[in-house]
Assembly symmetry: D2
Homo-oligomer: 350 residues x 4
């Protein structure tokens, strides 16, 4: 359990006492996914169901859990899937996304305005999910006044407030202004997120009723957009598209340990040279501290959380903790955006 | 002088009386350029200067003229130039644009906020001038609070409110909301315009202090953005990127007449076949009504304005009065947008 | 029937003899659609079927017809449809496109290489159909050597040779080089076309086995790509995305005549003012020469073909015969390209 | 010095003998930069000059060095710089790029054809450098036959052969075909590269006369394009835009060691807490094996090369060795491409 201090780094056999205390409250783990945040705490048991290889996890964060994992109170649904460049797979994910999103939406009247907001920066590929999705949203608000809409279609408006670096204005200020003028009954926000897991990049949709901090994935956190700040229910839909260097390094160090233990155990087998491959991840390898420390010295003493904090200390001051994105993002982002806008359109028209 | 009625069309030698009255107040000549609107009225004499093949025309529209030409009271400066794909030419236009725009801008204090607004639709090439220009504007508003700005740089914010067809919200509502929240001392609006002259397409910049109607060029006129509606001075910068079919047809009919008269006059010359080319436009051909009517029958009886009104009657009901754009727009729009944003950036930082 | 001369323009009641002869072989009617070329000749009767509002016309051009209409010998299938932004409509068109394209394709063996070529310029929206379609083609040629392909999938390669203005190389030279090196058994070429009818813009697919001239729609005709020049069967698929100003003017002049006659006939009816609208196009109006000449003078004497030739004389020398595209092209081009690539992919994998 | 075997990993105090031999010839260090490859061998001393903060390094790889560093025989010039979003900086880099590129180009005659080739994939941002640069190349080959070119301008053609995954054809096959047909006297190839250093990403231009392997940076190496394979001199210009996860991890592990040693040495100083920041990289820290092993256990025993090999063993089998790109690439790629095409254009026209 994190105590917001890293201690004992350097307390070693040589008797040196290297008391290096880092205030972890300064360290912002770069995940916007609650499913990743709860991995820190075994007492939170999410409920997971799998539909045809798509995993849906529901987490209810109450006040107590909120303090532990540092995520806001609310309901979080995470949809995890594989490749969406395959049309069948995409249709499957779309169907589940619609089913899950629908549970979040409560509207009394087709005339109630839903304001859909695409956060992010259309000129940066991994940050363009929101603006791309908005391009596909069917808007009807302006047609309502002219009675030009099929009565089955919800009243919908959509905006892309861009990012503070391009507007010079706090994104939350823009949203609040337009919400005040248009008086929506529900706000749906779409944004790119940051993950602490490469496996989840471009393969996860998070839906939550707890609101969102624009730019929390990429760049600095901005002012919150939520029921509390706007007095309007806010549903946030996000897909992780970036990781930071800390994630890549700490993932790899964990793989190294498993690889080392697996290798040591299988070294005597004749077929060893053939079988190493990715087997070390398939078998359930029991990590023991002795091996961990042998392989990695003091670094092997650290918990996952301490390792990430140390990496933050090392990388952040030299500007190396770069935010990165797999190069395949260019092929995936359109497909991901279309799942979101098609899903929203579908729900709005029945 | 237009009297808002076309009469006598059809009053012909055969004695038929075809009284066809069209209410011209319904007919919206598709020009956003005041320099074109005044061509209807000889009593308005603009002042024109030419700098190195770039023509700058200044028109002051007072209350009286406003009624005649149907343009708002204010000052209009039009910069006409040739190709801007040539770097030298572009630099020349940029310099003159800066000089002219500067005359419109009065700011007391570097701390006064200037809000730059890029109207239009980033997914439609001829309508993307505003959003493209905004991409290049240096914004500083958010840095001002952190004292991170060189004191020579004006406080600047920038937004792209998109179009009503994509947001479902009146563009003027979005702008008013954000202006209320950010309290700018000056608003600069950038938009694509419609022209009634093919020659001016992508070769004209209009600057005015009279405000603008979003979407007046393409699609329907929306609510005005101006000092009157916002209580903040508004400078509008526009470049015509589209014409309608009426313009193309009425231009051509006028060329046909000149071509016919020229041809008739030169037919007896031995070198006739060699010289026709574009000579008919170079010589100052006197158009006489007899030839006009001979060539074009009843259509030859119509004034320019009546011809456009007739074309509107013919084309609009069948949805043919298409808005078109020359195919070279794809190569020009970036260059035009960069003149505007570079010009604004330059003025804002000294 | 065109005799390649316009005469008698100007032979009028006043006794003037204005013998203006234009050599029509110089005049290139800007249509790449054979369905438009045959409209000049009543002796060619195309066979047309309509499936659920999609019209399919088949024209076989033999040697004799080829001379008359100036199109190459071969089979031409034209699919005409409405809007493809509607998903149902798009699916309908896709199905018919697949059915018709399949009739053109004869391959003995899945191992026979099909080379798909996307002509045009990816940086000019109306000319980007070919490159956009190629982006969606599933290529398998490189996988064949590694036996990585499902045996149902045809061997396919795809290239985008760009345009001569960007490469400095004749497009046909690039294609011939690559065809020589890869030895395809069939070539499928995709290109944007020019139309002489605004109604057909973005609403027509032409399929032919007669080959294609790159850039015949936009810009100058380049060297032919066909069975004759490459010794490989060539199927060309094209969609008209541009018209020239001549088309817009001559269309409009024809509408004016119909509008005039309709107006004259209905003027005495009390409900006249209400009913004019687009009725003049719905009724089958008989155009009589007397009315035509009354309305349009000498211009009313011209046949369609003569009118276009005159317009060419007037507009071309002054560079006004601009190539234009409706502004909605930005929304349609992706959808049109996806019909073509999906259609080809479908045929190649069964 | 790498001996193409990693041994002794696991030979530890516990007496276990873990003889893990990996054939390094299979391990492809993902660098396309010769300046990085020579860092493995102290006997190769490059010559470096610095002009106004831009570093230019020249390396001549002869037969002997070629074997050691695994790079082809030839001359390699590397230009290293900072940010090119700043206009002044960009102009400075452009000037030096022109000066260095010029030294590689020997042409007898303005009529000699130069074929410029933009490798890579225009739909993947980090791989789009080549196609983007080609968009800006002034081509003249087609004008030469018409004598339409100013005699100062070199005969230039330009192609973008795309990538095998999109064409189904070996890129070298396409290039050879077109080279055979157009007979250039010089080929200039532009491509995105992979780096093993995050610092060099988007901040380095490499020019070489040794040819290039398409796709060596991203994806698999394809057949070589060089003087040897084409019988035409080939100049390759590349900019690193991607790194792999191995690079990020091995960089970080090295930083961790320096950080640890620095921390240990300064821990007793009162100002310690204030000064840590990035100081650990500024001071010339002497890495001793004892500290290295204390911090990192067995991993601390490995040389840089051995560490990368181990990481390759761990990450490649599980598909984790992702290729990544900093998110700022979207802002930099246009600027980098324009330096290359402007530089080439400049040299070609005098």
């Amino acid at each position: 359990m994190p105590n917001n201090k890293i201690s004992d780094l350097g307390n070693n056999k040589n008797g040196d006492i290297m008391k290096h205390e880092v205030d972890l409250s300064d360290y912002n783990i770069r995940t916007d996914l609650t499913i990743e945040a709860i991995e820190k705490d075994a007492t939170i048991a999410p409920s997971t169901k799998t539909y045809d290889q798509v995993r849906v996890t529901e987490i209810d964060v109450d006040e107590e859990k909120s303090k532990i994992i540092g995520k806001k109170i609310g309901k979080y649904v995470t949809i995890e899937f594989d490749d969406v460049t395959d049309k069948n797979n995409k249709d499957k994910v779309l169907k589940i996304f619609i089913k899950e999103l629908e549970k979040f939406i409560k509207l009394d009247n087709k005339n109630d305005l839903v304001l859909v907001i695409g956060l992010g920066n259309d000129t940066s590929t991994p940050d363009s999910l929101g603006p791309l999705a908005i391009d596909g949203i069917n808007v009807t608000n302006h047609l309502y006044e002219l009675s030009l809409v099929d009565e089955n279609y919800q009243r919908v408006a959509a905006i892309t407030p861009s990012v503070m670096g391009k507007t010079g204005i706090e994104t939350s200020t823009i949203i609040k202004s337009i919400a005040d003028a248009t008086k929506p009954k529900l706000i749906i926000v779409i944004d790119s997120l940051a993950s602490t897991s490469v496996e989840r990049l471009n393969r996860t949709i998070q839906i939550t009723n707890s609101g969102i901090f624009p730019g929390s994935g990429i760049g600095n956190r901005r002012k919150e957009i939520s029921l509390e700040t706007l007095n309007i229910p806010v549903i946030a839909i996000g897909i992780p598209t970036v990781v930071d260097a800390i994630t890549i390094v700490s993932d790899t160090i964990n793989y190294m340990i498993k690889h080392y233990i697996y290798t040591k155990e299988h070294l005597h087998l004749p077929k060893y040279k053939l079988v190493i491959g990715n087997n070390y991840l398939k078998e359930d390898i029991k990590i023991n501290n002795q091996d961990k420390e042998l392989l990695l010295g003091l670094v092997g003493h650290l918990s996952d959380y301490e390792l990430r904090s140390l990496l933050n200390d090392v990388l952040s001051p030299i500007g190396y903790n770069l935010i990165v994105t797999p190069t395949e993002i260019d092929y995936l982002i359109d497909s991901l955006a279309s799942i979101i806008c098609q899903g929203i359109n579908e729900i709005m028209q029945h």
